[in-house]
Amino acid sequence: MSTETVLRPGWKVPIILGVFSLASLLLFLLSGRQGISVFRLSSSGEAVQLPALELPVMASGIVISVLLIGLAGFSAYRVTRAQRTPLYVIVIFGVLFMVGLLVWAFVDATLPVTGLLTGTVALSAPIIYGALGGVISERVGVVNIAIEGQLLAGAFTSAVVASVTRNPFLGLGAAMIAGMLVSFVLAAFSIKYLVDQVIVGVVLNVLVLGLTSFFFSQVLSEDKQLLNSPPRFDKLPIPFLSDIPVIGPVLFNQTVIIYIMYVAVALVYYGLFHTKWGLRVRAVGEHPTAADTVGIAVNRTRFWNVSLAGAVAGLGGAFFTLGSVGSFQKEMTAGLGFIALAAVIFGRWDPIRATLAALLFGFATNLQNVLGIIGSPIPSEFMLMLPYIVTIIAVAGLVGQVRGPAAAGKPYVKA
């Protein structure tokens, strides 16, 4: 079959970019906001102090808008030449647009850049863990809708165990076991009893939500001191690395859970693409019959890797209670498990890309927090929508048609 491509890339990308460029231009010209935005790059108490950036709003806004229009024009030019818009153009566009929005929002105010980014990493953590669980599970051929339930189970269990034992590490272990238990149910029903994986996942989410809410109001609230006041992990700055300006405080002045996350992302990536384990996982998720004919036990592989996925997602749950909030709250995962699912797809079932997608969602969430604090002119209801709008644009607009593991969602039955 000839590989020559004759279908022209569509006008979708340049049109979207154009609309955003014009929106940016109008925002600056019509709102008539004058003044100076200050971007603070280091907080007091850091070893290296960087000077703060002072940006005049109107001038920066016009420069940025012109650059945006230029990028949109470049994209349109590519389309007329029947070429696709390269991904880096879209990324640069997104970053510029975001900077523009920040400059505009923080007029005559100070934006703590490190604070914004540190919060991004923290808020992304459960999404990243959840997405890793999703990647492993889907790569092995089981659709994991139950990430939300695994997160919530992990959050609940880690809070109780850490409170009772006064040891946060035991809480972490308990969170993994809880996530795994949720996975056992998912695996048993979808692999052994061939129930539709999406349905089992949804039902599990509702079940875990109901169970944890029940125990929260009936048991935990009886003796909050004993059962729901886990010791939190403290921030653990890594010597030397944490002194690097901007990057240091953002990445290397975090809790143990975040450091474990870095290792987990790297391990899952390396494992999936460079080890025997990963080769077999991917084989089972792509073509289970072929895997079977070379002597790989398909359903056993699926069962244990779905369990592993649950354990990883459970760790993400522990972040809520041991890493950030400090106690279990009803429905505290608030749908982040579903955002993690979106990150899996946005990241094309690749652990690194899924992590980046999760960071994007985390950034949107934290931006909404930061903007809320300074009292931005954008209505707060709209700000609350931000992470979800980013998710929809990301998954629907930019991902387009992607191909997941071929056998994901299909139970394997031997003839």
């Binding site: 000839s2 494992g271 080890t275 792509e286 073509h287 079977d292 070379v294 002597g295 031997k414």
Partner: protein, 505 residues
């Protein structure tokens, strides 16, 4: 290694797929297992390979009884299999596919793919294959994919090698090359089981032949037996292998395609600037190896393809860009290549399937109501006329044999007021008896003055039916040649070569 199967019996519910089958394959021998589709050949081999567990009987290798709980055991014992539907993971590289299940690793489970690449290179060299260990399998031509399957089996030091219908997807040239590889393996002492229903290949390559019918061994034949002898053993009665066909009396050009191009979703030209005409009262066969654009070509005529450029004129009316409904009401009958997927609704009855693409108009529907009485009479008549072996018109089509399913599709499509008949792979998976019937109906349709397009990957079928043959390769038509063109010429054309004296399409 000597393979011996003793009294293998495998049941699926009440169906006996294998009934006390005995088979001995010696080292250095190609043993053909000949039988029709559904005779139980593949079941037997899946028992051998550990995919199925037999209820009775034993498997002996060099006189030692083995019990295989899964393919892993069979492989470890030295049995390799080249599957009919390749057991390769399309997104993996050749080396990864060869390594899978027997990965050699370095520290911490890290893959050592270099070892697998080396294996691929060594085996490729031995047989003169040109296989790049780092190529993505899904992007390779099927012929090369099959070689990857062979390499995969040999990399496990298989001493007994099973080829399950290996030639279904190959060009005649590739088939010849495969047979050379099989002979080389045999001469090196491998015991080879060659499963097929193609008589020509059995006679060309087999040392011994065991014929299976309805799950049981019916006898042993010799490669020197005639096609007719082998066929009658296979079917259980005397069969006609060629349809009687008078000289065609072509009329006006009825279907005229000009500059027809079909793009797939990613913009690749799957049909590339094809022009041809089919005359009333002739059969134009479209030959070619599976996947060279034949499917898309027929679907373009039916309006099932999205991106179609060029023109398709039927009786001087434009069909491109029209809906499937419009094409059907223009009098086009269509027998799709996969009857279970596209031709029939398995959960519907024979009667319901017989009116499937006419269920929106009289006489089947009046004032929005199904005319069940009419349908019943119609279905009963077709059941008789087409000799559809079903308990009744209320039987679910999914319960019929392949041959009877195909008859249901044919009955439906041929009982319309036809202006054009498009038949794709008319006899795929059919028994010899049904093939006779289907071929006869196609020739009768032609003789009634209707233009017929037959798409087939089987050269025997093409030669039997065609008045003219268009050979497709990589989306284009290599040439249109007379129906009596020799196989060798067609084979070359199927590989994209244009022999001297063949006019351009």
């Amino acid at each position: 290694m000597k393979l011996e199967l003793r009294g293998i019996t495998k049941r699926f519910g009440s169906l006996i797929a294998n009934n006390h089958i005995d088979l001995v394959v010696n080292p250095g021998e190609i043993h053909a297992l000949l039988g029709e589709n559904g005779a139980g050949k593949s079941t037997l081999m899946n028992v051998l390979y550990g995919l199925y567990q037999a209820e009775e009987g034993e498997i002996l290798l060099d006189g030692v009884v083995h019990n295989f709980a899964g393919p892993g055991d069979a492989m470890a014992a030295g049995i390799g299999m080249v599957h009919q539907h390749f057991m390769l993971i399309p997104v993996f590289t050749v080396a990864e596919n060869v390594a899978l299940g027997h990965e050699s690793t370095k520290w911490g489970g890290t893959l050592n793919l270099e070892a697998a690449r080396e294996t691929v290179r060594t085996i490729s060299q031995r047989f003169g294959f040109e296989v790049d260990p780092d190529a993505i399998v899904g992007e390779l031509p099927v012929g090369v994919q099959q070689r990857v399957e062979i390499i995969k089996a040999l990399s496990q030091n298989a001493k007994v090698l099973v080829f399950d219908e290996p030639t279904a997807v190959l060009t005649p040239q590739e088939t010849d090359e495969l047979m050379a590889v099989m002979r080389q393996l045999r001469d090196e002492g491998t015991a080879i089981v060659f499963i097929t229903h193609k008589l020509r290949e059995v006679r060309a390559v087999a040392d011994r032949i065991t014929v299976i019918r309805l799950g049981a061994v019916v006898g042993v034949a010799s490669p020197t037996d005639s096609n007719e002898q082998l066929a009658s053993m296979m079917v259980g009665r005397a069969v006609l292998l060629t349809v009687h066909k008078d000289e065609a009396t072509p009329g006006e050009a009825a279907l005229v395609c000009t500059g027809l191009t079909v793009l797939d979703a990613t913009g690749h030209r799957v049909v590339d600037n094809v022009s041809y005409a089919v005359h009333a009262g002739e059969v134009l066969a479209i030959a070619g190896v599976q996947g060279n654009g034949q499917t898309e070509l027929t679907e373009a005529i039916m309006g099932l393809q999205k991106h179609v450029l060029g023109s398709i004129m039927l009786d001087n009316r434009e069909l491109t860009g029209r809906s499937v409904r419009h094409v059907l009401t223009s009098g086009v009958g269509f027998v799709p290549e996969d009857r279970t997927e596209d031709g029939l609704v398995a959960e519907f009855t024979v009667a319901e399937n017989l009116m499937l693409d006419r269920a929106d108009q009289a006489p089947f529907v009046r004032r929005g109501t199904l005319q069940l009485g009419y349908l019943r009479a119609f279905a009963e008549e077709k059941l008789r006329e087409y000799d559809i072996r079903a308990q009744g018109i209320g039987t679910h089509v999914g319960r019929l044999s392949g041959g009877n399913q195909q008859k249901v599709v044919l009955a439906r499509e041929m009982s319309k007021d036809l202006r054009l008949l498009v038949v794709a792979q008319p006899t795929r998976g059919l028994d010899v008896g049904s093939i006779e019937f289907v071929h006869r109906r196609i020739v009768e349709t032609r003789d009634a003055g209707i233009p017929v397009i037959v798409v087939s990957t089987e050269l025997d079928e093409v030669s039997a039916l065609a008045d003219r043959i268009a050979v497709m390769y990589k989306g284009g038509i290599v040439g249109i040649v007379p129906g009596d063109t020799p196989r060798e010429v067609l084979g070359l054309m199927m590989a994209g070569e244009k022999p001297a004296g063949v006019s351009a399409a």
